[in-house]
């Protein structure tokens, strides 16, 4: 059967694909289109059944999409792509590097002699927490996460890196500053923050592990995550994305520990972004599973 490929934005017919059958999938369409246009490798292509519709899933067949001989498919170029893993590694390695660089108190930023000024204990602890967090993320990216979607537009690399690297510099500049003021309530505040941070980091790791084990390697099967033997995963009883709950919790505790407004701003920005993601994920779960637990919220138990 024949399907014509129409450019989604301009409405111009780009080509007509003829080597298709009703059982061909969208992935097949992409492969054939790639043979004709070497520039548009499959990950870079998006096909829709309406000019402004959603991207069609790779495993959907033309028959299931009700596309018949002579119908149109709308094509959109997603732009050059880059692997998720590459982006993750770049965006997490940066904060580690930037933070530790400022931790050494370079003379070009803090002035000569800053390196020799005494540091409060909380400054060491903060550097340890920060490093722990990003080391953990790098290791998780390498060994724990399974990426269901292979690539993202290359612009995301620059966007994400400027966010993470920029905030790392902003927070590190103040926490490591020779004129840094330690928390008002002294050691109690520091240790409360530290313990909270570590618990939340552990919780975040537990959730990542649970999500990994939920989906066997190579499968695209989706399931509802439930608490496992690990007590931290009990958070699944309250929210759809406990990994974000713990992540926000960790940064809130870091802020408490350092008593630093830039850290609070980083927490808020992260919370906003994660709340948006959590809402999307929550909605997908509810749409996909009719038996999805009703008491679950998105990111904050009982609230949001």
């Amino acid at each position: 059967m024949e399907v014509s490929v129409v450019h989604a934005r301009s409405g111009k017919t780009l080509t007509t694909l003829s080597a298709l059958s009703p059982s061909s999938t969208v992935a097949d369409v992409k492969r054939i289109y790639h043979q004709r246009n070497a520039k548009y490798y499959p990950d870079r292509q998006s096909f829709r059944s309406e000019p402004k519709g959603r991207s069609l899933k790779d495993d959907a067949t033309l028959q299931s999409l009700n596309i018949k001989n002579g119908d149109k498919l709308y094509f959109k170029d997603l732009g050059p792509q880059i692997g998720w893993k590459t982006v993750f590694l770049a965006e997490y390695a940066g904060p580690l590097f930037v933070y530790l660089l400022l931790y050494t108190r370079p003379a070009c930023i803090y002035g000569a002699g800053a390196v020799d000024k005494p540091r409060q204990q909380v400054v060491y602890l903060a550097a340890a927490c920060w490093s722990l967090h990003y080391m953990k993320r790098l290791l998780e990216t390498q060994f724990v996460h399974r990426f269901s979607h292979g690539t993202m537009p290359i612009m995301n690399l620059f966007k994400n890196c400027s966010y993470y690297w920029g905030f790392a510099g902003f927070v590190a500049y103040y926490v490591n500053h020779p004129l840094y003021t330690s928390p008002a309530f002294g050691d109690i505040q520091v240790y409360a923050g530290l313990i909270g941070f570590l618990l939340n980091e552990y919780g975040n790791f537990s959730i990542h592990l649970t999500l990994r084990n939920l989906r066997p390697e190579g499968s695209k099967e989706r399931k509802i995550p439930y608490p496992t033997g690990d007590p931290m995963t009990l958070m699944f009883n309250f929210v759809s994305c406990p990994n974000y709950t713990y992540e926000v919790g960790a940064w809130a505790c870091f802020t408490l520990m350092t008593q630093c407004v830039p850290a609070a701003l980083f927490t808020l920005a992260g919370f906003y972004q994660m709340a948006v993601w959590a809402k999307g994920k929550h909605r997908n779960y509810k749409r996909e599973f009719s038996n999805y637990p009703r008491q679950r919220k998105c990111i904050i138990p009982f609230v949001l």
């Binding site: 926490v175 840094y180 003021t181 008593q259 630093c260 830039p262």
Partner: protein, 232 residues
């Protein structure tokens, strides 16, 4: 496109909201007209821009600050404009008025202030008249034409005025350290107001050409008629 969108959204707002908006736009139009009258009168009497700010200070503060309501209008959806864009436009002016002109009295007699307000005044008189007549579905072509034509001169004039006001304020801000937070403090953050003002000035560089070309495109669509819009 924007005009089409506005047409599509040709909003179903309640008669109360329409009445309120008409009232708001009439008052603001009258307010800016009064600023215009004061400016002209001052110039005719003194033949100089010096002392101009004192003459229009009060109505300018009232009517420029009232524009904050436009953000509220966009948020609650009684006008179709984008919240972000409106907030951006209103804040840049309100910031100049309160953050610079009010806070740094030394710049009040600078020609940049007169230039800015001379550009804002006709712009706002026409803009509020445009909305008012639009709400009543009686929009004379002349007003549409003015709205999409005067900006060609007024917009760059306003930007020049705003930039020179910012620039003139910098030495005084450095000297007085207003709104500046220095380390050490309990919040572990610092803020340098003069860097912030420089940052705002730098932001004009990418924003101005984009907004200006956007307005030019709007002009082609709305005044240039259908000739341009359907090329292919």
């Amino acid at each position: 496109m924007a005009a089409e969108e506005q047409g599509e959204k040709k909003r179903k707002i309640s008669p109360t909201a329409t009445a309120y908006l008409v009232l708001y736009n009439v008052v603001l139009c009258a307010g800016w007209t009064s600023i215009g009258i004061v400016m002209v009168k001052h110039y005719l009497e003194t033949k100089t821009y010096h002392g101009m700010y004192e003459a229009f200070e009060m109505p300018l503060k009232v009517f420029q600050t009232a524009a904050v309501l436009e953000i509220v209008h966009a948020i609650i959806g009684i006008v179709p404009s984008s919240v972000v864009l409106t907030a951006f436009q209103v804040f840049s002016r309100v910031f100049l008025l309160w953050g610079i002109i009010y806070s740094v009295p030394e710049v009040q007699d600078n020609i940049g202030v007169t230039m800015s307000v001379a550009a804002w005044t006709p712009t706002e008189m026409i803009r509020y008249a445009f909305y008012t007549f639009g709400l009543m579905n009686r929009l004379p072509y002349l007003i549409t034409w003015c709205r999409y034509t005067f900006f060609i001169v007024l917009y760059p004039l306003g930007v020049m005025g705003e930039m020179s006001t910012f620039y003139a304020s910098l030495p005084y801000i450095k000297e007085s350290d207003i709104y500046t937070i220095t380390l050490p403090n309990d919040y572990n953050i610092s803020f340098n107001y003069s860097y912030f003002v420089i940052f705002i000035m730098v932001m004009y560089i990418p924003v101005f050409p984009r907004l200006y070309s956007h307005m030019i495109r709007q002009r082609k669509k709305i005044i240039g008629g259908q000739v341009v819009s359907k090329r292919d």
